[in-house]
């Protein structure tokens, strides 16, 4: 019947559009995620900057920041039994555990976490302490065999998704001698139940040390945790003992083994490899020395200033579409370099001599736009200190560390390569352009390494895949990712892989669903799309001034309109996100009747809430951009977790932060802002409310 055919054709078109929306939603999430990981260095360098120049934020002893970032002295040395001194109230209804752990303990933990209970600090600390003791005995590369059990199950990133972990246990069975597991890193950050996930994993590790194996991921890193949510989560769940718990986590993370090998045939690491990866060397290093991938080891003073040339070539981001279009033969995969790509520029500005106007400028602007206003020219490259004890108030030059041996750097690079690298389709190994870790390894690199060791397979994680897994390099590399709905509800499946004695991978996929009613594809795509677009709008808003500068050459008469093509071009250049801008345009900006884009409508998405006159567009933009970072800093300052900080603290922090960023704001404006936020005039600011006002809402999205 003709009617039926008509409907068929129409529906197919609808599905095609839906599929396209799903894809660009995915692109948006992925490109923002990778771009965000690069930005995260900002925070790390800010903390270092603060450490270099200010110690007593509250005027009362070493503050949390130094405690969190400079754990040179192990506060637990010789105080092993400290957790025993923590009393557990009778009224505590959560799980109580004792050591050695038994199955009933792990069961009660799992059940308790299912019910959203929190494990008492005393038990958490004890659990971590025991885990630390156990891990110290383990080598860097752990060997497993399939001869003990039918199959070994390998899981990828969980990122605090407790529901996914429970679903895996439900489908596949709890860890045991018959059901051995390897968890390949990234247990924490981003998801809201990182604490529960990681405590369960550690508990099973203690229960079955030979059948449960954990590899370190790039998020098992205290600096990453500061930015991506784990630190905050712990501080919120453990108000009194949060700091001690975080301290222990830091130690435990750095003690996690780096790799697992099955039957001397299958290598499992979190990120991957580089053409320099030397597994024998890797096995020999003291892995716990590398606390964080984001703190460079000390560099020799005599070393030539290798980082300076990178500053000049820093214009277009490596791997950005900009540079790629100029080199059509290069054909680099659409990826963003991980957070390590700007270490040098980051380290250089943060360790500048103490001047509150030092700034992290010029590293973020493309060559065609003028650099952001800097209070001072980019400072000379100064070696970046890690383990050198910081002595407050002395001239920074005096705290320069002694030269580091090349071995330290080599160890660090080997570790970072393994935790941060990604596979790419083309041959070769493209190291990160800037001195740092992580690279893109091609099929030839994989082949070479596997052959060298007589291995047949590399299993890694680190990248979110829509189906939960992906095979590449002709079957030599498997990516396994176990956090479903990673970007948004419905964005992707999770998966785990099982290997039997035949070492043939068998994949199992799943997807956690928050609602009991199954969402249609349309609903899922819509929800994910909405979320992605909001994130994108926020990106636009937070780069407002740069974008406006970019539009200027195309709109001399300041009409407020540019063509669609020009609009897309500016967005791509400034934001450096490789996205189908024309397709996305309807969600981002209004069209004039003549078909040109009213570009100011891109920024029409500020939420309701406070708009004190002191909030200039410039300030609003900065606040949106750094909202997450500011929130983190405020949380750290807010020692009693009341949600309030004093006006002084606010002013102080803001001045530091804006000074570091090179944002030109005079003291008067900050003062006025602070006073205007203090609504009840009691001298304290509810910073959560304050930051909420700078959350972007979805203005163009009328129908949802």
């Amino acid at each position: 019947m003709k009617a039926a055919i008509l409907i068929q054709g129409w529906f197919r078109r609808y599905m095609a559009r839906l599929e396209m929306r799903r894809r660009y939603t995915w692109s948006i999430f992925q490109s923002i995620e990778y771009a965000g990981e690069q930005d995260q260095l900002q925070l790390s360098s800010f903390f270092s900057f603060m450490l270099d120049n200010f110690t007593h934020l509250n005027g009362s002893g070493p503050d949390l920041i130094s405690q969190l970032l400079d754990p040179v002295v192990d506060p637990w040395l010789g105080r092993e039994t400290r957790y025993e001194l923590i009393p557990v109230a009778e009224s505590y209804s959560g799980p109580r555990i004792s050591f050695p752990l038994s199955v009933s303990h792990t069961n009660s933990l799992v059940n308790a976490f299912k019910e959203h209970q929190t494990l008492h600090a005393r038990y958490a600390l004890q659990l971590l302490w025991e885990t630390k003791k156990l891990l110290k005995q383990m080598p860097n590369i752990v060997h497993m065999s399939t001869s003990y059990a039918k199959e070994i199950t390998i899981c990828g990133d969980l990122h605090g998704h407790l529901d996914d972990l429970l679903l895996i246990f439900y489908k596949n069975g709890l860890p045991s001698a018959e059901t051995p597991y390897v968890f390949n890193g990234d247990f924490v950050d981003r998801g809201k139940q990182s604490t529960e996930v990681v405590l369960i994993l550690f508990a099973y590790l203690l229960l079955y040390p030979t059948h449960m194996h954990l590899n370190r991921g790039n998020h098992e890193d205290h600096i990453m945790n500061l930015r991506y949510g784990f630190t905050k989560e712990v501080m919120q769940k453990y108000k009194t003992h949060g700091r001690e718990i975080l301290q222990l986590f830091q130690d435990v993370f750095s003690l996690l083994p780096i790799a697992t090998v099955i039957d001397s045939k299958v290598l499992i690491v979190h990120g991957g490899i580089s053409d320099q990866t030397d597994l024998d060397f890797l096995n020999s290093i003291e892995r716990q020395k590398v606390k964080s991938a984001l703190r460079l080891p000390r560099r020799s003073l005599e070393e030539p200033d290798v980082s300076r040339p990178y500053k000049q070539t820093h214009g277009p981001r490596p791997g950005s579409s900009h540079s790629r279009r100029q080199r059509p033969l290069a054909q680099t995969k659409r990826k963003r370099h991980r957070g390590l790509s700007r270490q040098d520029s980051g380290s250089s500005s943060s360790s500048s001599p103490s001047s509150s106007s030092s700034s992290l400028c010029s590293s973020r602007t493309p060559p065609c736009l003028p650099p952001r206003p800097c209070a001072s020219p980019p400072p000379p490259i100064v070696p970046f200190s890690v383990d050198g004890l910081q002595v407050p108030f002395l001239d920074s030059l005096a705290s320069l560390p002694p030269p580091s041996p090349p071995r330290v750097e080599r160890e660090w690079k080997q570790m970072v390569d393994v935790l941060w690298s990604d596979p790419k389709p083309q041959d070769g190994c493209t190291p990160n352009t800037f001195r740092g870790g992580g690279c893109y390894y091609g099929p030839d690199v994989t082949q070479r390494l596997l052959r060298h060791h007589g291995y047949q397979l590399l299993i890694r994680s680190h990248e979110c895949k829509q189906e939960g897994y992906e095979i590449c390099h002709g079957g030599n590399v498997i990516t396994i990712f176990s956090a479903s709905n990673y970007y948004e509800e419905g964005s992707n499946r999770g998966a785990y892989v099982k290997l039997g004695q035949d070492l043939l991978p068998r994949f199992y996929q799943y997807q956690v669903s928050r609602t009991t009613r199954k969402l249609t594809l349309t609903q899922r795509v819509r929800a994910a799309e909405g979320s992605a677009l909001r994130a994108l709008q926020e990106k636009l808003f937070s780069h407002r001034s740069e974008l406006l500068t970019g539009f200027l050459p195309f709109d001399h008469n300041n009409t407020g309109f540019v063509s669609v093509g020009e609009w897309a071009q500016v967005l791509e250049t400034v934001l450096r996100l490789d996205l189908p801008w024309r397709t996305l345009r309807p969600h981002l900006a209004r069209l004039a009747p003549d078909g040109s884009v009213e570009y100011l409508s891109c920024f029409d998405c500020m939420g309701p809430g406070l708009h004190p006159p002191q909030v200039t567009p410039n300030l609003a933009e900065t606040l949106v951009r750094y909202r997450t970072d500011l929130e983190l800093i405020f949380n750290i300052i807010d020692k009693d977790h009341s949600g309030l900080i004093s006006l002084d603290e606010f002013r102080h922090t803001w001045r530091l932060f804006s000074g570091h960023l090179g944002v030109a704001l005079d003291d008067g404006a900050i003062d006025a802002l602070a006073r205007s936020i203090d609504f009840n005039k009691d001298g304290s600011i509810d910073f959560t409310e304050f930051l909420e006002a700078f959350r972007v809402v979805h203005k163009l999205d009328k129908d949802h």
Partner: protein, 161 residues
């Protein structure tokens, strides 16, 4: 005259850029090629309604021997299709009428198995997967019926974006 030509050029460039955008979404490895199986999605997302047979014709024109489609060959073919307004989209009321034709008893709704039967007809019947997708979006969960007027409304709203 020069204006006209300029306008025509801008129009063509606009069309090219639209095609490029759509292509890019499905070009995973960023090497200006897509898998031949994606071409249907790309063509339809650009607003064209070829039948499966017409789609095969397009594929015939542009497919490389290795089963991929590269942008250079796709662009001129697709541009022509867009410029000539071939495979035009179906207006909403036509769609509604189509449903009403299927609803012979004029109930205002269709049963799932009715719709399934119709969709499995014709030269290019729905696959199992397509049928499942349509039913999951179209069937009202409480009554287990397809109120096609609402269905069309909802889909058209979405489709226009």
């Amino acid at each position: 005259m020069a204006d006209d030509r300029e306008r025509a050029e801008i129009l063509v460039t606009g069309v090219h850029k639209r095609i490029n955008d759509a292509f890019q979404v499905f070009d995973h490895d960023l090497n200006k090629t897509v898998d031949v199986r994606e071409i249907g999605a790309i063509v339809r997302s650009l607003g064209c309604f070829p039948t499966e047979a017409e789609l095969l014709d397009i594929i015939d024109e542009v497919e490389e021997p290795n089963g991929f489609i590269c942008f250079e060959r796709f662009l001129p073919t697709m541009s022509k299709i867009l410029m000539e307004n071939k495979f035009r989209p179906i207006p909403e009321d036509t769609l509604l009428t189509a449903f009403e034709v299927l609803d012979q008893q004029k109930k205002g709704h269709l049963e799932p198995n009715e719709l399934t039967e119709y969709m499995r007809q014709g030269d290019e019947p729905f696959t199992q997967l397509e049928m499942e997708e349509m039913l999951s979006s179209a069937v009202e969960p409480d009554s287990n019926l397809i109120y096609y007027k609402d269905f069309v409304n909802m889909m058209v709203l979405d489709g226009e974006r």
